[in-house]
């Protein structure tokens, strides 16, 4: 096994391989809340966005909560202390309204999206697009078919204004403002993100898709997404991220709330490839009502620190929750990910499958929380977490917390840590693959059963991303 840590040249090569997301245009923001966070910042955001009063109050209360909560460094990494909230700009916008047709999108924004390959992807797969450029959606489009079915797919700003009667009862209910310091921050300054409502019985055949990217240095992106699948409906949402690299840290702190009503099926897919200076501190949770299903399929590549534990609260009988996740941590990166499964009704079922890969001096952490209270019966949980270490300096740690009370439940937990064996590498190389290619193939094999859960175009991209990350991991 090679002991080489990435040298500067290799690191550079990896960064260059990220060039698809590594560009930015001169910024000309009509609205800029300035650096730092105060009540005045909140008012500025509310004024610009013309928020209704209830939202203004919500934001101000959230700011107080944010300020009163300590950093969770008693259990999380001390690296959080390096976030300087005073130099972050919390709101930027060029003031253009969300547009529905590609022709109406400003040229430089269009060029950015073209370089990200969005138009082709849309033609090929998308039923609707909600692409976030800085804080406002620059482009959004829902196909006629969906509109006919009454599916709402807009940004969160439009959602809270135009569809308040659907939006407001669930907003901040799945993830309360005070859930954690970063959900409070998001609640104070959120902008962008999606609001989706799928009416009763509607089965959306194509995945709805959103692209997010950050374009301004030191600009925290705080999108807020709320998805409601009404009784018996089905929907898949896909979210992909690329970001240009910056010299100073960037903060991304999203809140995503999912609601699956009785018999609904909701699947949320993320492939994320942040540049290695981004703090990615995301709160994602879903509620599954009776016989409903919420699945999180999550892939985390890149970022300086990712903290993300998608959760499902199984509130109705026979509800199901699932988290499938892949994390890849390269040198200078810490993927602190996992899942929260809260069983709150009889005969609920949860499944967690997590695979992590640590490369160079990268570190991956699994934190799992499974909660089954005593008064319930017939609950089941399965948790599998496997870690693959590529280099001698790679790190992994696992913190599973499974609380099961009562004796009418079934839980199962498996964890493994493995390495790509020397004999496997020798075998692959003897067939003509270079050491890097051999390592890539072995790593892709390790995650292959999970990659298959992603839609085709994502799984292809994922394999390519893994290959890029593995370059230079051997030497």
């Amino acid at each position: 096994m090679s002991e080489a840590i990435l040298d500067s040249g290799t690191q550079e090569a990896i960064e260059i391989d990220r060039s698809k997301g590594d560009f930015s245009y001169p910024e000309s923001h009509k609205y800029d809340a300035g650096r730092g966070l105060s009540a005045a910042t909140i008012d500025y955001i509310c004024d610009v966005k013309e928020d209704p009063d209830w939202v203004r109050q919500f934001r101000h209360r959230a700011l107080e909560t944010f300020e009163s909560k300590p950093m969770p460094t008693h259990w999380a990494t001390k690296d959080l202390e390096n976030i300087d909230f005073d130099i972050i700009r919390y709101y930027l916008s060029d003031g253009t309204k969300p547009t529905r047709s590609w022709d109406e999108v400003p040229d430089d924004i269009k060029e950015t999206f073209e370089r990200l390959g969005i138009p082709e992807q849309e033609r090929a797969f998308l039923a609707g697009v909600e692409a976030q450029y800085d804080s406002e959606a620059a482009y959004s489009n829902v196909k006629e078919e969906l509109e006919k079915d009454g599916v709402i797919f807009v940004n969160s700003t439009e959602g809270l204004k135009e569809y308040e009667e659907i939006f407001r009862p669930w907003f901040g209910k799945v993830i309360p403002t005070g859930d954690n310091k970063f959900s409070a921050l998001n609640s104070a300054v959120f902008s962008g993100g999606s609001f989706i409502y799928v009416p009763k019985g509607v089965k959306v055949r194509h995945p709805l898709q959103a692209y997010f990217r950050i374009n301004s240095e030191n600009f925290g992106q705080f999108e807020r997404t709320l998805i409601i699948c009404d009784e018996g409906s089905e929907m898949t949402y896909m979210e992909g991220c690329t970001a240009p690299k910056f010299e100073t840290a960037t903060l991304h702190s999203a809140v995503v709330e999912l609601v699956a009503m009785k018999d609904a099926k909701l699947q949320y897919i993320t492939v994320q490839n942040w540049s290695s200076n981004v703090f990615n501190l995301v709160t994602k949770r879903g509620i599954a009502h009776e016989n409903a299903e919420v699945r999180w399929i999550d892939c985390n590549i890149g970022s300086r620190l990712t903290m993300k534990y998608p959760g499902v609260v199984m509130k109705g009988r026979r509800a199901r929750g699932e988290v499938i996740s892949i994390a890849l941590a390269n040198s200078g990166q810490h993927q602190d990910t996992g899942a929260k499964m809260i069983h709150a009704a009889d005969e609920t079922t949860s499944n967690v499958v997590s695979k992590s890969i640590s490369v160079g001096e990268g570190r991956s952490t699994y934190r799992g929380q499974v909660h089954i209270p005593k008064h319930l019966k017939g609950c089941r949980n399965n948790t599998e977490c496997d870690a693959l270490l590529i280099n001698a300096s790679s790190q992994t740690d696992t913190y599973p917390a499974i609380t099961v009370r009562g004796n009418q439940h079934a839980t199962q937990h498996e964890a493994s840590v493995s390495q790509v064996s020397e004999e496997m590498l020798f075998y692959l190389q003897q067939r003509g693959l270079s050491e890097g290619e051999a390592m890539s193939l072995a790593v892709n094999g390790f995650v292959n059963d999970l990659v298959r859960e992603f839609p085709m175009e994502y799984s292809v991209e994922l394999k390519r991303l893994i290959e890029l990350e593995m370059e230079g991991s051997v030497g």
Binding site: F426, L433, A442, G445, N448
Partner: protein, 251 residues
């Protein structure tokens, strides 16, 4: 045009296993190496293929004049050297079809892609020849394979990669007689004036089906006797014990 091993010395963890081994396998010929356990048979194949656990402490290995010891493991492979492993590694999650395809792709010039249709046609045809079930293509490499399946798989890869020189390490071990015949037929179909074989085996049995041009006896890291195929029969009758006396006398 030959694979030439000259006065090869190799050690693992400071223990010398190969002690001045010399051998020449010209293209078009099949050479068999026989020897007792611990004589250095498997070490020889690993050293020639470039396994990093072994340190070459002397001698040379050339393939058609090219210094193999200067090349990386994968470069030796792409230059035309194939090792059929005695104990092939498992590669979980990687399908056989993708694995062999990746190996073929590695042999193409930059920017050139494999023709998938032609690839599968060829793969299926060779699988049929070796009596391998079609489902095999979507199984993970060697994972859960029986001993016989692993050996057939090695020969399938050898047929798909069309090497110039084939090292076969105890390909007969773990095979029943029917599987042995199938595997031997596969190997025989590859025999050509353009290809050399070095067949390593403990037993004469394999050589009933893959008829060697030359037989060498390896003991204590050296070739102690060479001869025609009748030497294999002699070994079969006398066993390896008589060698000990010869080596003792010679040493």
């Amino acid at each position: 045009m030959s694979l030439v091993i000259t006065d090869l010395h190799a050690a693992i963890d400071g223990n010398e296993i190969l002690r001045g081994l010399s051998l020449e396998v010209p293209k078009g010929e099949v050479h068999a190496i026989m020897g007792p356990n611990g004589s250095g048979k498997s070490t020889l194949s690993k050293v020639v293929a470039g396994h990093e656990d072994y340190e070459v402490t002397g001698g040379s290995v050339t393939m058609d004049g090219e210094d193999l010891l200067e090349l990386e493991i994968d470069e030796r492979s792409r230059a035309g050297l194939f090792l059929a492993f005695q104990y092939p590694a498992e590669v979980p999650g990687v399908t056989m079809a993708n694995f062999i395809r990746a190996a073929r792709q590695a042999r193409l010039p930059e920017g050139e892609e494999i023709d998938a249709v032609a690839y599968y046609q060829e793969l299926y045809q060779k699988m049929d020849q070796l009596g391998i079930d079609r489902k095999f293509t979507s199984r993970s490499v060697n994972e859960g394979f029986s001993g016989g399946e692993k050996k057939r798989n090695e020969v399938l890869q050898m047929m798909m990669l069309e090497p110039h020189y084939c090292l076969m390490d105890e390909t007969d071990s773990g095979l029943d007689i029917d599987a042995l015949k199938v595997v031997a037929n596969g190997v025989n179909s590859m025999r050509s004036p353009e290809r050399g074989f070095l067949v390593i085996t403990h037993y004469q049995r394999l050589l009933d089906y893959i008829e060697p041009d030359h037989v060498h006896v390896l003991a204590k890291g050296q070739i102690v006797r060479s001869g025609g195929k009748e030497l294999a029969l002699e070994l079969e009758q006398k066993g390896y014990d008589f060698l000990k006396e010869e080596v003792a006398v010679g040493g």
